[in-house]
């Protein structure tokens, strides 16, 4: 279980998180939505200790991340896969080397087993046979899939997706959504997905939480969020330019975004 408790985080004079709290239960996919720059990525970076909260704490499997020793933090990171917004592939390495990078660190697997795991991970993201290519030779969508392959190669208990569909065309976004759903079915991970792509949020999420002005404005199942009466949440999920328009009644069933296979 991942629990954010009253997280406050500022960068200089800019207060980004102001009491962010959220509990992510075992086996579920929690989606955090919110506008650009509200601190969604900042929030999940606390899970792996990339950032330390100014106040509050993040607990993963009963361990408070900010209190862990370097060794324990390394052990915690081994349980968490992180899929970065722009993939963050090591551009001086081949796709194989990128996906194998974390496995080699652990020194638990022989080279042949690493090769098999890399091939299996790339198959899972529909990129078999790309091992010898360089990141620069791949499209944005393919790079994101390699980023996912690198994260799942470690068989993590938790997966953090930072805007996995941002900047992709609708078809490629749907492919990434499918991969996230398939990954959870195959590996049984607990996931946190950061996104402002509502189509993606409805498809992959069990629960959706909206981050607004540094704290959670509302959280609930996909259906609860779709039917919310909160004007701020409705303005966001309906993509309306101002609050006044969003103050109208909740969306009718015909207006709702059709969601195929939504777990929620």
């Amino acid at each position: 279980m991942i629990a954010f408790r009253d997280i406050h985080k500022a960068f200089g004079p800019k207060q980004v998180l102001r009491g962010f709290s959220l509990a992510v239960r075992e086996g579920e996919t929690a989606v955090i939505i919110g506008g650009s720059g509200v601190g969604k990525s900042v929030a999940i970076k606390h899970v792996v200790g990339l950032l330390e909260p100014d106040a509050g704490e993040v607990e993963v499997d009963g361990q408070v991340v900010s209190r862990l020793s370097r060794k324990d933090l390394t052990a915690l990171r081994a349980k968490v896969g992180y899929v970065f917004q722009f993939a963050a592939l090591f551009d001086s390495m081949t796709i194989f080397e990128n996906v194998a990078f974390g496995l080699r660190r652990r020194r638990e697997m022989a080279e042949t087993a690493i090769r098999e795991r890399v091939a299996e991970s790339l198959r899972l993201v529909d990129l078999p046979g790309t091992e010898a290519r360089m990141p620069a030779e791949l499209s944005g969508g393919m790079r994101k899939r390699v980023g996912l392959a690198r994260a799942i190669a470690l068989r993590p208990k938790y997966l953090l997706y930072d805007e996995p569909t941002t900047g992709l065309d609708p078809v490629t976004s749907a492919v990434i959504d499918d991969l996230m759903i398939r990954t959870r079915e195959v590996l049984g991970n607990t996931s946190i997905v950061i996104t402002h792509d509502m189509r993606s949020a409805y498809r992959v999420g069990d629960r959706i939480a909206m981050l607004y002005e540094g704290r959670i404005r509302q959280e609930g199942t996909v259906a609860e969020i779709q039917q919310t009466a909160d004007p701020v949440v409705r303005q966001f999920i309906e993509g309306r330019p101002n609050l006044r328009d969003a103050d109208a009644a909740p969306l009718s069933a015909s207006e709702e975004v059709a969601v195929e296979g939504s777990p929620g």
Binding site: L50, G81, Q85, F86, R105, R106
Partner: protein, 256 residues
């Protein structure tokens, strides 16, 4: 005015304090040999071997100019074979390490800052951490070791090239024989001359690579941030290199 100077002074002290913590983290990461061990030799090639052409080029022309400058200065008042002494001493103790150091502050320091800065802003450094790698052990230690070890090697080759080209210039362009040039070269030579130059070179290599890594890994923003980190690296490295040069002269060249 006073307030501005005060703020800038406090900022500068703060930066050096952070650089101290960064250096301490780098020393701590030395224990993680299995992370940095494989990176050292490729870095030694990139930082050292690949820097040889520019270092040799600078040294060659410095040697030629020094020989001609010496003969111009002496104007018959000093025996011409002193050209060898001036070329040798100056190249070994000062111009070899300092000119090569300044040029490598640009080539090596800027390269490191740009590379690590780009990795930082594209979240590759965060990715390293999430994959349980210590960025200090994986990125900083191999570069600092390679710089500290290879700068003296590059400077040693540069010293040899500078003296050789000074010798060639002296014997072809001046009325000086090989024997006279060698006589001058050996006149005041002591092994400490070379040691002094190489100690300076090692300290320059350490400082330039450390500053490049520090500013690279503290890059903020996008391309603009990378550009700023690169520029700062060259400027700070050049300034610290000259301060270090004076420090070594004060500490190691005190008359007995």
């Amino acid at each position: 005015m006073l307030a501005t100077v005060g703020r800038q002074s406090v900022g500068l002290v703060g930066t050096f304090g952070q650089l101290g913590f960064f250096a301490a983290d780098t020393v701590r990461a030395l224990a993680d040999v299995r992370t940095w061990g494989r990176q050292v030799f490729p870095m030694m090639r990139r930082i050292g071997v690949d820097s040889l052409p520019v270092a040799l080029f600078i040294a060659a022309f410095t040697g030629i100019v020094l020989a001609l400058l010496a003969s111009y200065i002496f104007t018959g008042q000093v025996p011409l074979y002193f050209v060898g002494a001036l070329v040798g001493k100056t190249i070994m103790m000062e111009l070899g390490p300092v000119l090569v150091g300044l040029s490598l502050a640009g080539r090596v320091g800027a390269n490191i800052a740009a590379e690590l800065g780009t990795m930082k802003v594209t979240e590759q450094v965060d990715a390293l951490e999430t994959l349980a790698y210590d960025p200090h052990a994986y990125l900083v230690v191999p570069r600092v070791i390679a710089g500290t070890v290879m700068f003296p090697v590059v400077v040693a080759f540069a010293m040899a090239m500078g003296i050789l080209m000074g010798w060639v210039a002296a014997t072809t362009l001046l009325p000086l024989t090989n024997a006279e040039f060698v006589r001058g070269l050996r006149l005041f030579y002591v092994p400490f001359d070379v040691q002094f130059g190489l100690i300076k070179a090692a300290s320059f290599g350490f400082v330039i690579t450390l500053i490049g890594c520090y500013l690279g890994l503290n890059t903020r923003g996008g391309a603009e941030g990378v550009g700023a980190a690169t520029t700062k690296t060259v400027v700070y490295s050049a300034v610290l290199l000259l301060v270090l040069d004076a420090f070594w002269a004060l500490t190691l060249l005190q008359p007995s």
